[in-house]
Symmetry: C2
Subunit: 519 residues, 2 copies
């Protein structure tokens, strides 16, 4: 068989079952091979950023890599922003980039560019297959590399002739390295810190924000009085009624500082040392308070949940973790605001929902409003590259076809990768998207003042750069143009009726929630 066919056989044997694709001529043999390997599901995306974001959503929920199929350097470039978010999330992704035939590269044809340089900015592993018969083994290693804890983007560059040439045979899967167990002495030293009686917090990230890690952390907090925090933008946070509640570190540095005031010890479990998202004049980049010592219980690639369980056994004995009690907001009424929209969502969020949250400023009240909803997963914008939410929801829905997916999306961010809706319609995915349409890049209204730009000199020209009205975006028309049923809500009652109806029906829906800007 040819390299392309052997590749797909190798991937399905390694449990890579989905390929989010936006192919071109140099990938035609890979596309043709889909018919010879029906266990591989090709999912067409109309833009590469949708494909890579969907692979991120799939990987976060399946804990297994999806493949992405991209077209040369420019196709990879279009997919980079969401691969950047995936890199920050520690998501396993097999990123396949088709290239010109090996002998064609030196002619500098129009699409030739430096694929390796682009891939290097997001990948933990890169290889270019040189011969058809190398492809299967390279692919098996790529899958294992993608799964290397905590998970990473593995980029496999496949020249066209390497795919179309015969002489390849499927390779057997390569076992991936498990998460590294944390040494007893590290756990014991954290236990000593917790028992010191000094003010202490646990900061959870990575795998520690799933049920097992949270329960262990909850026990530790209950037994020792340590504060429980998780990173600002967790890749996947399990939360809701019956799970231990954890406070997310605030986006704004001064609010994060307030959360950590008075701490003498900060124990990191799968999280990085907290830093300010952006720099601001005369504000610290490092958010750890003075006099607070930082202890790494589990770093990147370590078994953070296992370390927390061990630590809980040392300091919390038979203590059970306190859990969030069920509670729902009262259904609000009247003209819609971001706060009321959050209450509607909290009142109706279905059990086992997957929430893709890119609501930005309009999402300010969501955490509170949904805290006591039935258990659900919350996926956030890990790398700050907007345009993640709708692709992420798409991939999550493919990974978990029996779970309802809710995508909470800011208007400005939605416009980056809107064609995810088309893929949702084509694949019949059960995704309910709520667009918070406040007619602006509201976060920049806030940031303009925070970075110290003179509000007297920043006038109409500056503010027009945040203004998404003139003309208004009509997300109902945009969704319908891609085959997704849609409606507009201007009151809390309208949102509740439309959100409830969308959740009760299969397939994708979109609701444009018209809200005033928070800033």
């Amino acid at each position: 068989m040819n390299g392309a066919q052997a590749l797909l056989h190798t991937l399905v044997n390694a449990d890579v079952q989905v390929c989010f694709s936006n192919p071109g001529t140099s990938e035609m043999h890979l596309v043709a091979a889909l018919d010879t390997v029906p266990r591989m599901r090709g999912v067409l995306c109309l833009f590469e950023g949708v494909a890579t974001g969907a692979a991120d959503g799939y990987g976060r929920m399946a804990s297994a890599p999806a493949a992405v199929l991209l077209h040369l350097g420019p196709g990879l470039a279009n997919g980079l922003a969401n691969l950047h978010n995936a890199r920050r999330a520690g998501t396993p992704i097999l990123n396949i980039v088709g290239d010109h035939a090996t002998y064609h590269q030196r002619y500098d044809a129009p699409l030739e560019s430096d694929i390796h340089a682009l891939a290097g900015s997001v990948s933990g592993w890169i290889r270019r297959s040189a011969r058809s018969r190398d492809v299967p083994a390279d692919a098996a290693e790529a899958v294992a590399a993608a799964l290397t804890p905590p998970g990473q983007v593995a980029t496999l560059i496949l020249p066209a002739d390497v795919c179309w040439s015969e002489g390849a045979q499927p390779a057997t899967p390569v076992r991936s390295r498990p998460a590294s167990p944390v040494h007893d002495s590290v756990v014991e030293s954290a236990a000593a810190v917790l028992k010191s009686g000094e003010p202490c917090a646990l900061l959870l990230g990575g795998g520690a924000t799933r049920r097992h890690g949270l329960e262990a952390a909850g026990r530790i907090a209950a037994a020792t009085g340590a504060k429980l925090l998780c990173e600002t933008f967790p890749a996947r946070l399990e939360r809701g009624a019956g799970l231990p509640a954890v406070e997310r570190l605030a986006y704004l540095g001064e609010m994060a500082a307030a959360q950590m005031t008075g701490l003498r010890h900060l124990i990191l479990a799968g999280a990085k040392r907290p830093v300010s998202f952006f720099a601001y004049p005369n504000q610290p980049s490092d958010l750890v308070p003075e006099g607070c010592q930082v202890h790494v219980l589990a770093g990147d690639g370590d078994d953070a949940a296992g370390a927390l369980a061990h630590l809980a056994d040392l300091v919390a004995g038979g203590v059970a973790p306190p859990v969030q009690q069920p509670s729902r907001p009262e259904p609000p009424s009247g003209p819609l605001t971001a706060e009321k929209a959050a209450a509607v969502i909290g009142a109706l969020l279905p059990e086992d929902a997957i929430v893709s949250d890119e609501s930005n400023t309009s999402g300010l009240w969501l955490a509170g409003a949904t805290a006591g909803a039935p258990p659900h997963d919350w996926l956030t914008l890990t790398g700050g590259a907007i345009g993640q939410g709708m692709p992420l929801a798409t991939g999550a829905a493919i990974a978990c076809p029996s779970r309802p997916v809710v995508c909470l999306e800011a208007d400005g961010s939605a416009m980056y990768t809107l064609s995810a809706l088309w893929t949702q319609a084509r694949e019949g995915l059960d995704v309910t998207t709520v667009i918070f349409n406040n007619g602006s890049y509201a976060v920049l209204n806030m940031e303009l003042a925070r970075v110290g730009a003179d509000p007297n000199s920043a006038g109409e020209a500056a503010r027009s750069m945040f203004d998404l009205s003139r003309p208004d975006l009509d997300f109902v028309s945009l969704a319908q143009g891609m085959g997704v049923p849609a409606g507009r809500a201007r009151t809390a009652e309208e949102l509740a009726a439309q959100f409830g109806k969308a959740l009760s029906e299969p397939g994708p829906h979109l609701i444009e929630a018209v809200v005033p800007s928070v800033f």
Copy 2:
């Protein structure tokens, strides 16, 4: 003044008048400075690929750089594909990328990534300003670098603190190097080749596809019998009634080979040696026929039009160039096809139009149908990275506000950067977009067979990767959702009526031309 203000003053003094922007927090001081430098026009784009493609369109028409303002590595990544096309077009662009404050970079905040690696893939010049007072001189050099013949992407990376710190003063413009004159001996040797009587062709590219180069080349061809060809995807081709006609080298290698059959000499004037766009099994990458000698009259950065004028003086004495006679296709009727759509466009194309052509397979008949239309500029997809057409039209309309812009756009390509329509609506740009909606990536239907994929094994799964129906894209709804009036044409008469009306009214319009697929 601060670095940002000094930057904008320096740019407007260097005749950079437009900044296509998609800013974020790290660019807030640059945005704030817009109000202190009102001569700089900020144009908001909802996606970075729109901003970079618009700068390409602006630069091709203005022969002067626009600035682009992007947000860190991920923002640059989103803009790379159209910067790739601009690189291939030799378009001057000042690419400004905001970065974290200098002291913040080492904290590896979520948006941190390798900006330099990304910029390197498309830029001819890169610099990171280290201090506020360096910004103006760096910017002046960047503008000169962008204008270095034939034109290139110059990337200036500006850390946030370098923009917000005081102590900068505007810099005076730096003179850019002009195109290199071609040495007499090179011109004389080309003249000898032309006079040899052996079969010869001129292949024009770069600056040689504008009126002066074409007229000189037309004289040479008339006097010597040399064949007149231009590169497959010229950045800007002046054509139509009253201009010398030039045949574009075909996209398909075998057709290009046929155009060059029997040649003994190929003289390159601003064009590269012709190579196949993609590699195909058992097809040559190099398209120059055996026994044909290649002569470089003018390479990258040389004054190709000047060299042609000199050459014409040597071989064509007082010969006048033969020019295209005016002619328009008969207005067709009945159900619309791509061929009839081309005839409608040829019948109605207004004088002095700028055509942004990303019609791909549906555009097969456009060259013939518009050959005798009133004089116009034709802009093509130079780098093969689809999603160029609508941003390019946007920037061209800003560069040339008194000229009608016509954007001929394939359905699949349109979906990459569709939000260009919103910027057209906001800025009131006179752009008439015709979407050729054939419900497929039709070029891939053709390429699948051409790369030798077995049509028996490539079945439903493969073909679904080219299928843009299920669900159908409704471009009328999509355009209306971004504030652009739109209609749908299913017959030639409907297209003619709507196209004529759109051209007669100011502001943007979109027509969805429903056509069967050519392949």
